[in-house]
């Protein structure tokens, strides 16, 4: 006995609805997104060169600083202990403005969106690779912007900001990104 097509369709539909009703509705995918961004931060360290002054000696670790609230949770723990070109990595959280000079990568969290211009101005002289997922970060003078689109993360790199910060971005990384020019210097909005 063969099942009629319409009957089958009906059964599948009804049963899908039952399943949907049963399953817990999940939170938006926060941890997966930030686990991915943490991996990007680690990779940026691999494809960026800092000027010699940024590292006092051979054992100075690469400092990844989180400016503002920490959205990564334990996702960034996976970076600890991984070396990049012979240097260890160290993570600093809740970094205050006067500590920023020791940072090599500064991740500006969304909580700082209001004070963005201020933070960017402070980082200018510090040889820091500034990264953020705040909207329009690269356009406003940050070096790398992480743009979340529903299906993945896209990169925007402001080459003028990189030059001003004294960091050299590998062309392998540039190739994957949308290049932004122009530097508002954090003075305009």
């Amino acid at each position: 006995m063969m099942m009629k097509p319409c009957r089958l369709v009906l059964i599948i539909l009804v049963w899908s609805i039952i399943c949907v009703g049963q399953m817990a509705r999940g939170e938006p995918p926060v941890s997966r997104e930030y686990a991915l961004k943490a991996a990007f931060l680690y990779n940026f360290a691999k494809f960026v060169e800092w000027p010699k002054e940024a590292f006092p000696d051979e054992s100075t670790p690469i400092a990844i600083c989180i400016v503002g609230d920490d959205p990564f949770g334990i996702a960034l723990e996976a970076v600890k202990g991984r070396a990049v070109r012979g240097r260890k990595t160290v993570i600093k959280r809740g970094v205050k403005p006067d500590e920023l000079t020791t940072c090599h990568i500064c991740f500006v969290s969304r909580s700082e969106e209001e004070n963005l211009a201020e933070s960017l101005a402070e980082l200018r002289d510090c040889h820091a690779l500034t990264v953020s997922d705040v909207e329009g970060f690269a356009q406003r003078g940050g070096v790398i912007g992480l743009v979340t689109v529903e299906d993945g993360i896209h990169l925007e790199i402001n080459v003028d900001a990189a030059e001003r910060a004294g960091v050299t971005v590998s062309s392998r990384l540039l190739k994957l990104a949308k290049i932004i020019r122009g530097d508002t210097g954090g003075r305009e909005n």
Partner: protein
């Protein structure tokens, strides 16, 4: 008025098969309705970060935040021989069709039969109607039930909008179904959100007489993205061995759209469609009953069709999601050796969820309904000339973490109930071992089947006519050698053993090696029956039937290697090598007729080497060498060829490129077709120029 016989063959399907399917579904319904949610998502998953840290940055760019039902996963962990052709690979290779792009994949044999036909196969058993490869475009199967293969000339889309092509060699049976015996090709287009704005291209050349296309993408409100496109190409005839022009030029006009809507509760909806219409030329040689017993004609046939696809996905939690997909597809050719119209309606459901800490289960149900209508020709006919059939399928896969970050086991099976052979089971087991961050080893055992097609069951093809009055046929009547289908034709079976190793010794170099051993059974063969006069009372000829049967066995084994090396930031090499050996063991009664079976027509060695250089001034220089070993049973020599592309970006939104293809000799043959003797033509060297503008 042509008499059409519509016979429903629903009763052919096995009762037991359907019974089991119904019971299985009933149990699932019950379990999901009464049990508490199994998808206890853990919000923080440290293992996930570790996984991402080990991926290359290029891979990270492809990771989906909202993982889809067939699970986006780092390539290094997949327990299968997988190769991904990216959009960048397509652009830099200068190919103008999906079929040509497949030449860069290790383990795939791509050979041009004539200007508009290809044979594409994985791990052996080539032929225009090669039947062991499953091809999907955005989840829509483009395999045709008429001969269980793919009409490659009809598979196309705007190449710039292809996100990637995933090629998995070996049985992909579990997730994608029967007929993925030797591999699965999954063509994935970009989402509408990724193709916003306009793109226009146009160009012309020696073989590509003229081509162009436009695409425009826009946003509708905050959550809906759209795109539409149209493209056209006109391709020149190829040449015969003599150098004379053939009659196989073709042109096709195509258009389509895609719409994506993303809801806030984890729901998303995709709707897409295409239509196309083309004129295809070919030269056909058909046997005839009067002197000179074969006739050759140049003809053009019209090919057209369309499809409409809808998919709804819901992300339930971090580790669980489901998807429901429905599509309709129509394909029509008229008139070639036969006229043919095929309608397909397909519905698929999938659900993925975690079970405890260590297991992830994906399972699904599917239903496909196909209906064909054939205008029989003089040489090729199908009886009945119209048939409806359906397939019920279900699959389940369990991914088990045996030892965290070290050993992973995947067990799965697909169950199918079809109108030709009843109930089929295709189980497989795959193991991945990741001893170190930079190495992984995988092994797999699988069973797969290739179910019969209309051609094996119902066809009648006039293959050749042996004239009267010669030593082979002393009688007064010509003898028509006719291939005849057989309703009892069974599925071909495969038991495959595969092993693979992936290593990234440094950031700039990665290697992927696979070895396989395939044990085939019940392969299609033919045997001669008793000749009989036809028509019986006043015969004009004797018919010598050649029936199809499942008597052959074969073993194949081989090795595939893919390498990716970046000696510097601006230079990248990608290489692919395949080795294949086929050992046939024919059954006692069977005969391998040269015009019906081309199994040993696969090259032993194939090499592909691509170099991509980014030069100053926005220039790109790309080279692609290919070597393909000879096909002695088809009298085709080995060849080495070179494609070159010079690209220039005078501005960010403009690209000008000049591409030379098959440059190392004037022309070379790649294949000899079987069945329906289309005169083979040779591939000529060619050049074209193209401008692409994005706005």
């Amino acid at each position: 008025m042509i008499h059409r016989s519509h016979i429903r063959f629903g009763q052919q399907g096995s009762f037991i098969g359907r019974g089991i399917w119904c019971v299985a579904m009933g149990i699932w319904l019950l379990l999901t309705a009464i049990s508490p949610s199994w998808s206890q998502a853990s919000q923080d998953d440290p293992g996930l970060s570790e996984e991402f840290m080990e991926m290359s940055i290029e891979d990270l760019m492809t990771v989906k935040i909202t993982s889809v039902a067939k699970k986006a996963q780092s390539l290094s962990e997949a327990a299968a021989a997988i190769f991904v052709i990216t959009q960048e690979d397509i652009r830099r290779s200068g190919v103008t069709s999906i079929a040509e792009a497949l030449r860069m994949v290790p383990g795939l044999q791509v050979a041009r039969i004539d200007a508009n036909k290809w044979t594409i196969t994985s791990r052996g058993f080539s032929g225009r109607f090669s039947n062991k490869l499953l091809v999907l475009i955005d989840g829509r199967s483009v395999y045709t039930p008429i001969f269980s293969g793919v009409f490659w000339d009809a598979q196309d889309t705007l190449l710039e909008d292809i996100e990637r092509i995933e090629v998995i060699r070996g049985p992909g049976a579990t997730l994608w179904g029967a007929n993925a015996v030797n591999g699965v090709i999954n063509i994935i287009t970009k989402t509408a959100k990724d193709t916003q704005g306009g793109l226009m291209y146009g160009g012309a050349g020696t073989e590509e007489r003229g081509f162009g296309g436009v695409r425009y993408g826009t946003k509708l409100g905050d959550h809906t993205y759209w795109r539409i496109y149209t493209k056209y190409f006109n391709r020149d005839d190829a040449v015969y061995a003599s150098g004379d022009d053939a009659a196989d030029g073709w042109d096709v006009l195509r258009g389509g759209f895609r719409m994506d809507w993303q809801g806030s509760g984890g729901d998303s909806l995709t709707l897409s469609g295409d239509i196309y219409d083309g004129e295809i030329g070919e030269r056909i040689t058909t046997p005839s009953l009067a002197f000179p017993y074969s006739s050759t004609t140049d003809q053009e046939y019209n090919q057209g069709g369309g499809n409409l696809l809808g998919r709804w996905e819901r992300k339930i939690s971090e580790t669980s999601d489901m998807a429901l997909q429905l599509y309709y597809d129509r394909y029509d050719i008229d008139p070639s050796i036969i006229g043919l119209t095929v309608d397909t309606v397909d519905m698929d459901f999938q659900h993925r969820f975690s079970l405890g800490d260590r297991q992830e289960i994906i399972w699904g149900l599917g239903y496909r309904y196909m209906s064909d209508d054939i205008d029989n020709g003089a040489t090729v006919s199908f009886m009945p000339d119209s048939r409806d059939y359906d397939i019920f399928s279900a699959f389940v896969q369990d991914e088990i973490v045996v030892v965290e970050d070290l050993l992973k086991l995947v067990l799965g099976s697909k169950f199918e109930d079809n109108d030709y052979t009843g109930f089929e089971v295709q189980p497989n087991a795959r193991l991945t071992w990741m001893p170190h961050e930079q190495h992984s080893v995988w092994a797999a055992v699988s069973r797969a089947v290739r179910t019969p097609s209309r051609a094996e069951d119902d066809v009648r093809i006039g293959l050749a006519v042996i004239p009267p009055g010669i030593p082979q046929n002393p009688g007064p009547l010509p003898v028509e050698l006719t291939a005849v289908g057989d309703r009892d034709f069974d599925s071909e079976e495969l038991l495959a053993y595969e092993i693979g190793y992936r290593v990234r010794p440094m950031d700039e170099l990665s290697l992927d090696v696979t070895a396989f051993f395939n044990d085939y059974d019940s392969l299609r063969t033919g045997k001669f029956g008793m000749p009989f006069p036809d028509p019986p009372l006043s015969p004009t000829r004797m018919v010598l039937p050649f029936t199809q049967d499942n008597e052959d066995e074969a073993e194949t084994y081989g090795v595939e290697l893919a390498a990716d090396w970046r000696p510097s930031d601006w230079w990248r090499f990608q290489g692919a090598y395949s080795y294949l050996n086929i050992v046939l063991e024919q059954g006692d009664d069977s005969v391998e007729l040269s015009s019906t079976s081309r199994r040993s027509a696969s090259p032993h060695h194939q090499v592909s080497l691509r170099s991509a250089m980014d030069l100053p001034g926005g220039l790109e220089l790309d080279l692609w060498f290919r070597y393909v070993d000879d096909l002695p049973s088809l009298d085709v020599d080995d060849y080495i060829t070179l494609d070159t592309r010079l690209g220039w970006h005078p501005r960010k939104d403009l690209e000008i490129s000049v591409v030379g293809q098959n440059l190392l000799d004037n022309q070379h043959p790649e294949y000899q077709p079987e069945f329906l003797d289309t005169a083979p033509t040779e591939v000529e060297h060619s050049i074209y120029a193209k401008i692409t503008w994005q706005f």
